[in-house]
Symmetry: C3
Subunit: 135 residues, 3 copies
């Protein structure tokens, strides 16, 4: 069973989609199985991280931005803007697909886990995340 | 088919769970399919790496600890201890879910591949890894 | 449904396998489902990245080679050559399995996404990528 979530990040960083994914699972009426997420872009990624203290998310964003800065003289692919190549590197270091099992119609996330889209560009466009539900 | 492994890491670093996962596959009596692992925590991750020379594992742990050190002045989320935010960053850079196909009731790991839980905190608590078997 | 692709990288870096994976999906005659890829080696990884400008791929390779250089005095596992331990670290920072949904017999990749094997060693050997198709 496949559906697509269209997300509209307003800024670079983490955008939570836990509830949207949980709603897809609930609507499907399947009790148990595997939910696989796939982001159809090369400048954004998927992350499961702590959803309690927003400072965790801000620190994560700041840490990765420092590790993979803009205007690195190493980059030769610069035609699409100074934030394009860092976005590709950041996406390569993080996940483009995630598998989350579910049971009783609920994602088996840990108590503090949330699912996030990680937008790596400064002027985001709408992003599609494909949700596959398997038995 | 879903089951849960509860692991008790005694120290930060890699804890092999290859045999425990293989036992879940064998007990299930399914010949062929996909085994998906999911860790229900945001300060640990899953890794497939060389299981031959223990120096590989020690070097990996040392390398990531150096890349993501404690007491980085960048961190604002410090209330849960100096090893908490580095654990989140290390988890974000590695995997929280893995898909490993199996056939003839055996995981299709390469000859030198082992499956590990990578604990990133200094005083580990028990960790749950969900194992999903699909056709 | 499981099959295996054997790839012959000629140099370190990215080797595209999008068409080979798409051919496996097309041959299977299944319209919709999940395609999971798994690389059976600990010195290579799987990546989904931009397939338009080859400079993106070169910059990615150069960036990771700089982050994880050879002859780092941290390494103790050096018996298998100066490119072995960096290959393990680079593999740990990237993916060994990927899940890509498909519909109408086509992988649901984004417009600019290609699937790559990322070979991390200087003298590559043949590499096996397992392809699992699930409903």
């Amino acid at each position: 069973m496949i559906s697509t979530l269209t997300l509209h990040p307003k800024r670079p960083g983490l955008l939570e989609l836990t509830e949207a994914v949980q709603a897809v699972v609930a609507r499907a009426g399947v009790r148990e199985g595997l939910c696989t997420l796939f982001v159809r872009h090369t400048s954004a990624s998927l992350l499961i991280q702590e959803n309690a203290d927003p400072a965790v998310q801000r620190d994560l964003e700041a840490w990765l931005a420092r590790l993979v800065p803009e205007r690195d003289p190493l980059y030769t692919h610069t035609a699409e803007g100074p934030d394009d190549m860092p976005a590709h590197v950041r996406a390569a270091l993080t996940a483009c697909s995630l598998g989350v099992p579910f049971a009783e119609g609920r994602l088996l996330l840990g108590r503090w886990q949330g699912i996030y889209l990680w937008e790596h560009r400064r002027s985001p466009t709408p992003h599609e995340v494909v949700v596959h539900l398997g038995a």
